[in-house]
């Protein structure tokens, strides 16, 4: 056997070092850069949740680049634009977005998605919505997609579950609080009306229309309570939830609320400064809830430990993570179907409407979006309740109700 000399070791070390160094550089250089643009609200009315939602989706992008994109030979270049939740700003940013030719556009809400509705097909850029789908975007064969259905689906699914739980034989009487100042809020009421009519499981006895940020609803609530509602549905914002609770306290009534993901039990309790005021109230939406070491929680923990996610686990950060997963899984599906060569927005859209998107770490089930509606029909809703002063799980993965567009 030939004895290895120091010179041989040195040569081998140089060869290995060169291979490692230049080999790695070659790999990094070979990664195909793909543009993804996101809208955010850093300086507008919803800036309060930007840190959570944008933080969630950005952490997912970092994770995907490191652990998935690298293997596929691509790297997502992610840029955020601030729209202040203002349609005019979103429209003014559009030429820059279109010129960048991103694979897809991540929306922050209806205010930036609606103005671009008719521009997307011409530019061939699909838009990925983050929340529940608002009415104008619920179109067949559209260019907007969402990982969850409408707010009316959330309420409907909750009352499917409640109807069965109560073993009800007559429609459950409900009342709503909303505002005509915001079209989406009006749409929420119309959705619940449609569910009531279609299912026969609830009866909407009254809707209180007030400002988006009411100070006192006692007078209106006094009239509404005469119709004996068993639940108050508040899907709009925390301010309306707080006003309903305060009015119920003033009237000495104990009627549970049903709240949404963006105005859930925790933020409402914080605003009230008294969680006991929400005793018996519910929160219903498809996002994972912070109960135990579930699969979504483990994924969140991994993002915190390895990918610089710096926000607490709650509904809005879950919304951001789901948004990021939805976008990256769609890109993966398109790469599998078409390869990375010539990948563009049109191919992403085709992949989303023809492939089953998988791998959501329990945030939502594997999803299939056909062309008839922009969201999956196989979703589920989770329900939480404030019980004995604690935020606890009431039900999980209640199958999504069937509801036609109203």
């Amino acid at each position: 056997m030939t004895q290895l000399t120091r010179r041989d070791f040195a040569k081998a070390a140089i060869a290995v070092g060169s291979a490692a160094t230049f080999g790695q550089r070659a790999t990094a250089a070979d990664l195909q850069k793909l543009s993804v643009i996101g809208f955010a609200d850093y300086t507008g009315p919803y800036a309060i949740i930007a840190k959570d939602t944008v933080g969630g989706r950005e952490a997912v992008m970092r994770w995907w680049n490191a652990e998935v994109g690298n293997g596929l030979g691509v790297e997502l270049e992610f840029r955020n634009f601030d729209t202040h939740s203002d349609p005019a700003t979103a429209a003014s940013l559009w030429p820059s977005v279109a010129a960048a030719k991103p694979l897809l556009l991540l929306s922050f809400g209806a205010s930036d998605a609606v103005p671009l509705h008719d521009r997307l097909p011409d530019a061939g850029i699909p838009l990925f919505f983050s929340g529940a789908v608002p009415y104008p975007l619920w179109q067949p064969n559209g260019w907007e997609f969402a990982p969850r259905a409408s707010y009316a689906h959330d309420v409907g699914t909750f009352f499917d579950w409640m109807y069965a739980k109560k073993k009800a034989t007559a429609p459950i009487k409900v009342a709503m609080v909303s505002s005509q100042a915001v079209p989406l809020y009006v749409d929420m009421v119309k959705g619940v009306e449609a569910y009531a009519k279609a299912s026969g499981k609830i009866s909407l006895v009254s809707t209180i229309w007030d400002t988006p940020q009411p100070t006192d609803l006692t007078t209106q609530m006094k009239e509404t309570i005469k119709a004996n509602p068993e639940f108050f549905i508040v899907q709009t914002n925390v301010a309306q939830g707080v006003a309903v609770v305060r009015a119920l306290q003033a009237l000495g009534k104990d009627i549970p609320l049903v709240l949404e993901s963006h105005c859930g039990l925790d933020p409402t309790a914080k605003a009230l400064g008294d969680p006991s005021a929400l005793e018996g109230c519910y929160e219903a939406h498809p996002l994972p809830m912070p109960f135990g070491q579930t699969e979504p929680k483990k994924f969140y923990d991994m993002l915190v430990s390895k990918y610089d996610l710096r926000v607490d686990f709650q509904a809005m950060v879950a919304n951001g993570i789901l948004h990021g997963l939805f976008a990256t899984r769609a890109i993966e599906a398109a790469i599998r179907k078409y390869s990375t060569t010539g990948l563009n927005g049109v191919k992403i859209r085709e992949a989303v409407t023809s492939e089953t998107l998988k791998g959501f770490y329990g945030f939502v089930p594997d999803m299939r979006i056909d062309g008839n509606q922009p969201f999956p029909l196989n979703g589920a809703v989770n329900v939480a309740i404030y019980e004995d002063g604690k935020y606890v799980e009431a039900a999980s993965q209640v199958p999504l109700t069937k509801l036609a567009k109203w």
Binding site: A40, Y42, A50, P95, P183, V186
Partner: protein, 351 residues
């Protein structure tokens, strides 16, 4: 206010009435217009996006300048009037009305809506008139949402087909820029004509003292109503341009907040000057762009700050800038520009 450079004398009525009197003024205007025409090619897509918004806002601001700056009638519902124009345009455009006629319909619908509220200006003024015009904002919201969905789309909003000339669809942002530019230019010319006409002088007289105006033979009621009508017509045209630009309109695009911004534009640019309104548009929209740019940067550098703090900080910054304008230059940037021009022309003998 403005003094002509020495040696420029009007020897005919036509010269005396001319807007542009010297070769230098012609050259400056030509360079400015040429800059606007080649802007999209020089500055790219981001310029086009911002400029489209500015041009549409400029039309609405010119209308508000006539109502508020010239006639002195406060109007806090200009965005609602713009919305009325947008929805009327979308309504008729959906039914196949050609785009020029649809835009005109938008202007006329807003003018009709504006006159209803303008009539109250005959009876009340100042703070009370401000409250009345705020009502326009709420009535607009309520009407659009409550009417049958088949009319104005209700809460879902209304889609509008793009401008079509033959087989050519005007959907390209740069093409829309030139279209908006052309319309804004026509409206600017019209505004200058109105404020220099008999009506314009009546507006100014009513603004300065409506009692004296009536004593010198001006029909104050007609002048106030006309000021609202013209201002609302401009808002309606702006709304129509907005509808064709966005191609999907809903009531939340025309809020009281937008009306307040239009008032801020007039304050910053200078009350009682059409050019001042345009300067106000550029400054305010420019500031909004700075905030659009700064927001994400601040969040990136100081991630520990919540979005709410950045939001508040940016709006405080904007508020401070407007407050500084009101304190230091209540007559607006246009007034300061005129002062500078006069000082330059009379330097070094300002007395």
């Amino acid at each position: 206010m403005a003094t002509l450079p020495s040696g420029v004398f009007a020897e005919t009525y036509a010269v005396d009435r001319a807007l542009i009197r010297t070769g230098k003024q012609w050259r400056a205007l030509s360079i400015f217009l040429a800059f606007l025409l080649v802007g999209p090619f020089l500055f790219g897509s981001h310029f086009v996006g911002i400029a489209n918004g500015m041009l549409i806002t400029a039309v609405a601001a010119m209308g508000l300048q006539i109502t508020l700056g010239y006639a002195g009638q406060i109007n806090l519902g200009q965005a609602a009037l713009m919305g009325m124009g947008a929805f009327a345009t979308a309504f008729v455009a959906e039914r196949g009305v050609p785009f020029l006629l649809a835009i005109l319909t938008g202007g006329l619908a807003a003018a009709a809506f504006g006159v209803v509220f303008g009539l109250s200006a005959v009876r009340v003024k100042g703070f009370y008139l401000a409250l009345t015009t705020i009502a326009a904002q709420f009535v607009f919201n309520f009407v659009i949402i409550s009417l049958p969905t088949s009319w104005f789309g209700g809460s879902g909003g209304l889609r509008i087909p793009p401008i079509q000339v033959g087989s050519y669809r005007l959907i390209d942002e740069t093409a829309l820029y030139y279209f908006n530019f052309a319309v804004a230019l026509v409206m600017f010319h019209g505004a200058i004509g109105i404020v220099r006409s008999r009506f314009g002088r009546a507006f100014i007289a009513v603004r300065d003292d409506d009692v004296v105006a009536s004593m010198i033979g001006i029909d104050v009621a007609v002048a106030k109503s006309a000021a609202f009508l013209v201002g609302a017509f401009y808002a309606g045209i702006a709304g129509a341009l907005w509808a064709y630009y966005i191609r999907y309109i809903s009531v939340d695009q025309f809020t009281l907040f937008n009306s307040i911004w239009l008032i801020a534009i007039i304050i910053v640019g200078g009350s009682g000057s059409i050019v001042g309104a345009l300067i106000g548009v550029v400054v305010i929209r420019g500031m909004q762009e700075v905030i659009t740019f700064l927001g994400p940067q601040v969040m990136a550098v100081f991630p520990q700050l919540g979005g709410g703090i950045v939001f508040a900080g940016m709006n405080i910054f904007l508020g401070i800038v407007i407050a500084i304008f009101i304190i230091k230059e209540p007559k607006g940037l246009m007034y300061r520009w005129e002062v500078l021009k006069q000082r330059w022309r009379t330097w070094p003998f300002p007395y």
